[in-house]
Symmetry: C2
Subunit: 348 residues, 2 copies
């Protein structure tokens, strides 16, 4: 199917065309392009001239077809959403490691849809990526074993995979959440609510674990009514927080286990005039958290570092590392700003 075109797009010249233009064999041109040496200066000059004149642009993929190991210098990255400021930090971290290696990164959003994980992973594999950095969202990642056996490196970020042993880089959600809740308990709170993300998300489950373990280890009673799970977004978080705070026996402190939930909680507190009465510690840092009133205390984690470490492990694997898969925990930090240091008060 030819276009009806007038000028028509001129195709890019091939190695052979450059060779013809320079009056040499095409292998010689390849030598010059790849700087392989063993080319007479005079010849090289002629080739260089032809290269410029024809504006030769090499085709990297054509090369990788035959090349040693067939590496494409390409990796695939799946994250929650490329436009999500938190998830995008992972992307930024990966990029910092990939860029200097001249490895290009395919990035794609999963939006927590298991089918998207399968689909995009397969699309990446069809494009022969050298490696995959994945945020697992499906229930099982064993389908990747085959790809790994065939030489594609795989590293997981943020959550551990199921049905598969592979490198993972994440934060310790359980202990970090426990730290957050313990902090509230240290300030005298006994009725601490936990608002969590969708339970299909592993980190949401782990953060709830942390909450429970902190409560238990301090012999605080866990009131089921104060544990609200499966909150999908900020609006639902707002509603849940209001319901809680306006109930007969409200909590004196809230552990909100995800950044959007924290925002919803803050809004609810503000609308109810309780910002300075009910303590809040959030998991995930919140934008402008230090400029809010009161400034919000959070468990902060360096997601860019998660991305960096994951990319480093990935390239180690690509470069032949055969060691046992391991899980690397990136540290978190309790950032004390004010909202988490409010003491229990009698709420009218």
């Amino acid at each position: 199917m030819e276009e009806s075109d007038g000028p028509g797009p001129s195709r890019r010249p091939t190695l052979r065309q450059v060779a013809a233009h320079a009056g040499v064999g095409f292998k010689t041109v390849a030598r010059v392009v790849n700087g392989e040496g063993s080319v007479a200066p005079a010849t090289a000059a002629r080739v260089q001239a032809a290269l410029r004149e024809l504006n030769y642009v090499p085709d990297d993929f054509a090369g990788s077809l035959k090349k040693d190991g067939g590496r494409t210098r390409t990796i695939g990255l799946t994250i929650s959403n490329v436009a999500n400021p938190l998830a995008a930090q992972i992307h930024g971290g990966v990029e910092i490691v990939a860029m200097p290696r001249n490895v290009a990164t395919f990035a794609v959003s999963l939006n927590e849809q298991p089918s998207a994980e399968i689909e995009h992973t397969r699309a990446f594999l069809r494009r022969r990526v050298d490696g995959l950095i994945l945020t697992p969202v499906a229930d099982d990642q064993s389908y990747l074993q085959l790809a790994i056996d065939r030489g594609t490196a795989v590293v997981f970020v943020d959550r551990e995979p199921a049905g598969l042993r592979a490198d993972t880089v994440k934060v310790d959600d359980v202990s970090s959440a426990a730290t957050a809740v313990g902090h509230l308990a240290d300030f005298g709170h006994r009725r601490i609510a936990h608002l969590g993300d969708r339970v299909r998300i592993q980190t949401a489950r782990q953060r709830k674990e942390g909450y429970l373990s902190a409560m238990r280890s301090r012999d605080l009673p866990v009131d089921e009514r104060l544990v609200i799970l499966d909150i999908p977004d900020e609006l639902h978080a707002y509603a849940a927080a209001r319901r809680l705070l306006e109930s007969d026996d409200p909590p004196t402190a809230i552990h909100s286990a995800q950044n959007l939930i924290t925002v919803g909680v803050i809004r609810a507190l503000r609308d109810l005039g309780l910002s300075r009465k009910v303590a809040v510690v959030g998991f995930d840092d919140v934008a402008m958290g230090d400029l809010l009133d009161p400034p919000v205390t959070v468990i902060s984690h360096d997601l860019a570092r998660v991305g960096r470490v994951a990319a480093e492990r990935l390239f180690a694997r690509i470069d032949g590392d055969q060691s046992e898969p391991r899980t690397v925990f990136v540290p978190t930090e309790l950032v004390v700003r004010g909202s988490g240091e409010i003491r229990p008060q009698l709420v009218s």
Copy 2:
């Protein structure tokens, strides 16, 4: 170079291997894989079985080598920074359009470095991307003419290219900035400061234009001391704002022409106790802007939409659109929240 390996990675099977396994010609397998029909049901079944058994995964790039037009179903995207929440929105918008087309997106950060633009664009071209969505940061984009002539679609976002006519999707920075400044003037301000981003950035220059034109059209004197340019980050913005506000003849209002600058300004105002005394209108929305005190008035723009529109134009080009290049302006909105509606006050 073979690895010394024991088990060694099993390569993925090729079309021919599947064919051998099924006892058919490899072209028949290709027909089944591509659903080309004209294959006897019985044969197709045998092939399907072989496909599953060997876990065949097609190689998309090998195909694109010869295929019609040689499309790789791949595009390249360059933005300010993939981890920058604002720029990441562009990425999100692009993805929304690219994903359903089964087109994978390479994303990369430029960090305002001209050399990075050249380098990564070339890397994308070597990978034979079908199209490029670029945030221009170099002084001249004419080097891309050749790629366009050779059939690579190119669309610019956020800023217009130089030395090249091509589709561009951006907001009208000049008029939007003028709106922001006009809004402040409407509230009685005469001494309005302008704090702008690095002047090498086109939008920074255009926003300053908008500031100047709004001032002039209202016959307000432009005090050079109130125009601070080339602010590279939040810290410098903070320092600049403090200097301004602590000067002998401070402004009564501030037009801060970029989101990080706005944050710096807000911090300075807060630290000086002037949050409710000096008006602020920011360009770019600010995270949690409505939860700050006072809530911050901004020029908000839908960057995701910029990405979507750009991707739509790109695919139109890829699909053969030959129309004249055009610039599409995506609308902005003045979001009135409080900080921009403070009237001029005598600052001690």
